[in-house]
């Protein structure tokens, strides 16, 4: 049996980044939430916000620690498995990755220490300022890494010398055509994911009638935020789609399951795409709808997969279904938000058992949607690693064999399952324990500082 190092390297990269992205999906939003709670506490001096902040900071510390260790793996993946990609693109992307590291290190790590342990050592405004800086650091970090990713999707501002890419215009590289849409859509997705996770914890406590003031406050805050963000995210997703049609039409054709280029393109609701015979089985579709939402015109022509040779098409089935999972979960979130909106006006959101049970069940939904969306954009870019320029199979390290990658992939899978299993277990345990009691919170705010960083996360 021959093992393909390219396929296995792709699986390995997909595996390590899928696990890693779960943590930013949570910490970017959580850092901002902690910032808001700290701000409210500084202004209103209400202990509810302090207790909520203490509670979420503990969980944030664990997630952040896991983000650090799974993040150390990423900069080495480009070298171990994708050395030809590194050689070709480093002049353009290397500085972006370096800025990402610097943003993450200087702002996040520097101020995280003050956020976790400085409560008694610095004045309240400085503590709030640290919370702002940590939130800003996570956002900047996302900006740099998404700028690099967007450049791989829609390269701009470069020149090719000897098959390698050199920067010509840094502004064009940074603000390449897909960056604004990708950044907005991804970061909003992170916020929505975190908000649903926070709401799930609050609903769980409300269902059990414990920590009622904190849980009520946080449920109302997050549902209010989601009422704005979920519709916004649907609009942003639509704009991102329109942008993708313009720059990566074949990716959109795979997302929509469209084989033929045609006007009045149908929106396929369900189908089993068959790449071999270039057709869909069991298709259920609404005529002309895809033309409307992709080009905002019923009669517009939409490019199909058959417009390019099969060697330039992504794996259709994965992209098609990942897209449906993402959109389906988006609509589910919109439905829950609409329900919360009705309850908010009728009153009793925090007492409706059906609503609370649904909100608890929504905990993983944001994370799954983030992974699905990431799959759509990354698998949809195939067979290119840099769209239209560098094929994935030409990017892999020439020296590694299929067996090498199989061995390392197996090792990563074993270690990640243990680490993430334990991490999720400890985070859930912290979440179930709930915010600290009144006296405990006061002690935490005014007592001696803990001896070690991250010991703030001790249960």
């Amino acid at each position: 049996m021959t093992l393909d190092p390219v396929l296995l390297s792709r699986l390995q990269f997909a595996f390590v980044i899928a696990f890693h992205i779960l943590l930013p999906a949570f910490t970017v939003g959580l850092a901002a939430y902690i910032m808001v709670l700290e701000g409210l506490y500084v202004r209103r001096r209400d202990m509810v916000y302090l207790r909520l902040s203490l509670f979420w900071t503990k969980i944030f510390a664990v997630a952040f620690g896991m983000g650090v260790v799974s993040g150390i793996v990423m900069p080495f993946q480009f070298g171990t498995n994708w050395s030809r990609y590194s050689d070709a693109t480093a002049n353009v992307l290397g500085p972006l990755f370096t800025y990402e590291v610097l943003a993450a290190f200087f702002l996040e790590s520097g101020f995280l220490g003050i956020l976790l342990f400085g409560r008694k050592l610095v004045p309240p405004w400085a503590h709030f300022f640290s919370a702002c800086m940590v939130a800003l650091g996570t956002l900047l970090s996302s900006f740099w890494i998404l700028a690099a990713n967007s450049w791989m999707q829609t390269p701009a501002g470069y020149e090719v010398i000897d098959g390698r890419y050199f920067p010509k215009d840094w502004l064009a590289i940074l603000f390449n055509p897909s960056l604004p849409y990708r950044l907005a859509h991804t970061v909003t997705g992170f916020f929505v994911t975190t908000a649903f996770a926070v709401a799930a914890a609050a609903a769980w406590h409300l269902k059990r009638r414990e920590h009622v003031p904190e849980a009520t406050a946080s449920l109302k805050m997050t549902m209010g935020l989601l009422t704005v963000l979920v519709p916004l995210q649907i609009v942003l997703g639509d704009l991102h789609g329109v942008n993708t049609v313009e720059h990566q039409p074949i990716k959109v054709a795979a997302m929509e399951g469209l084989w033929e280029t045609r006007t009045r393109a149908p929106a396929v609701l369900f189908a089993i795409p068959d790449s071999k015979n270039e057709t869909n089985h069991a298709e259920i579709a609404i005529p002309a709808l895809a033309s409307l939402y992709l080009k905002h015109d019923f009669d517009a022509s939409v490019e199909g997969l058959k417009s390019v040779p099969s060697s330039e098409r992504p794996p259709v089935g994965i992209v098609f279904w990942a897209f449906r999972v993402m959109v389906g979960l988006g609509l589910l979130m919109a439905a829950v938000v609409a329900w919360s909106f009705v309850l908010r006006f009728r009153g009793g959101m925090e007492r409706s058992r059906a609503f609370l049970a649904t909100t608890v069940a929504m905990l993983p939904v944001g994370f799954i949607a983030v992974i699905a969306g990431w799959t759509v954009t990354e698998v949809g870019r195939q067979p290119w690693v840099v769209y239209g320029l560098l094929r994935t199979r030409d990017a892999v390290s020439p020296s590694i064999t299929g067996h090498d990658v199989l061995l390392s992939l197996a090792a990563y899978i074993v270690v990640y399952l243990v680490i993430f299993g334990a991490g999720i277990y400890y985070m859930v345990r912290l979440a179930k324990a709930g915010p600290p009691a009144e006296t405990e919170a006061r002690d935490a705010a005014l007592d001696e500082r803990p001896a070690r960083p991250m010991s703030g996360a001790r249960a």
Binding site: G65, S70, I72, F76, S397, S399, L446, A451, M454
Partner: protein
């Protein structure tokens, strides 16, 4: 335009140097973990490095990304050549990194996180030594690619370097514990440090004798005039520092051994192997291709300033880690007796609240 290559060589060399210096002792504490007698001592050992380990490790990430950004050709050749040592080092770092978090939360499975902390530290250190040994040995290159197989690293010299680094980091860890702990743990660490110092000297001797036979470029550099004159003080200074460290360990001085242990490592591995070999690997490959400066990918080398500031802050943090033990300010996690507060009152934890009015 200024030539960025020497600047960035210094920045990365400095990053690696800081990493060996800083992460060296906390990995060493991990390696010494099984020799502790009981959970109480293990708590002390872990607490002594817990405030600084993650800061120490950021140097590694900075080194990795800076190599990619500034010397992409070296990155694209060296990293795939070291496929398994790097993967195993990363897995080791993950396993020991989460142990800091999880060990204190675990109840039933604490011993598993003890093992994960020890095994991860040992693996990360050993494979860092293997990486270092391969640097000295050099890599098979064809055009712009590594031309060997993923198992080329598996040869006697790198494995010896791996064992040497385990011994060296363990010595750093032991001297760190001499500096930061008290009582029986400190005494045990003193004894361990002396044995490890002998081991380190043996490894230094072996590596130094072996290197010129294996890498002819290094032999040429060592044994030509005037380089010989520049390098001549290295063995003398090493011997002097080793002698001082040995005697400091025998007496009751706590800080000198740590500084001495650092110096032994720095003078040898730092001053000799790394900058020279890094320059050799990076510049050698580059010069053979298309001139040197094209490899510099950044428009301007601005990062060295914040990096320097960061070192400063971090070194301060490292030196301020309090001594762990019964006399120390913060004791074990079991919350053994705290020093009596200055103002006494009936409820000890609620007294000094004067800094900020109680909210709410």
């Amino acid at each position: 335009m200024i030539d960025l290559v020497p600047i960035w060589t210094l920045v990365i060399g400095f990053g690696v140097f800081m990493y060996v210096l800083l992460d060296g002792f906390d990995l060493g504490v991990g390696i010494l973990f099984p020799f502790a007698r009981g959970e109480e001592e293990r708590n002390l050992m872990m607490n002594s490095v817990a405030p600084v380990w993650d800061g120490n490790e950021t140097w590694l990430v900075l080194g990795g990304t800076a190599l990619l950004a500034v010397f992409p050709l070296a990155y694209a050749i060296i990293i795939p050549a070291l496929y398994f040592p790097i993967a195993l080092m990363l897995l080791g770092l993950i396993l020991r990194g989460v142990a800091f978090e999880f060990r204190f939360k675990a109840t039933r499975y604490m011993h598993w996180w003890n093992r994960s902390f020890f095994g991860g530290s040992l693996a990360a250190t050993f494979f860092q030594g293997v990486v270092l040994g391969n640097f000295v040995r050099g890599f098979a290159v064809d055009g712009r690619h590594f031309a060997g197989s993923s198992f080329d690293w598996l040869s006697p010299f790198p494995l010896l370097a791996g064992l040497g680094l385990v011994c060296g980091y363990a010595m750093l860890g032991a001297t760190w514990l001499v500096m930061k702990t008290e009582g029986e743990l400190q005494q045990a660490s003193r004894r361990q440090a002396r044995w490890l110092l002998l081991g380190v000297l043996a490894f230094i001797l072996m590596v130094s004798l072996w290197t010129p036979f294996m890498a002819s470029q290094i032999a040429a550099r060592w044994f030509t005039w005037p380089n010989m004159a520049y390098f001549a003080p290295v063995p003398v200074v090493t011997a002097l520092i080793a002698w001082t460290t040995w005697h400091a360990l025998a007496s009751d001085r706590d800080t000198v051994p740590f500084l001495g242990a650092r110096a032994v490592r720095d003078v040898l591995r730092g001053a000799r192997d790394q900058p020279l070999s890094l320059r050799r690997a990076v510049l050698g490959h580059a010069a053979r291709r298309r001139g040197v400066t094209e490899l510099a990918g950044l428009p301007a080398g601005r990062h060295d300033v914040p990096a320097a500031v960061r070192v400063h802050l971090h070194v301060l943090v490292v030196l301020r880690v309090p001594r762990q033990g019964a006399r120390g300010h913060r004791v074990s996690l079991k919350r053994a007796p705290m020093p009596a507060p200055a103002v006494t009152c009936s409820r000890p934890c609620r007294c000094s609240r004067s800094r900020r009015p109680a909210p709410g």
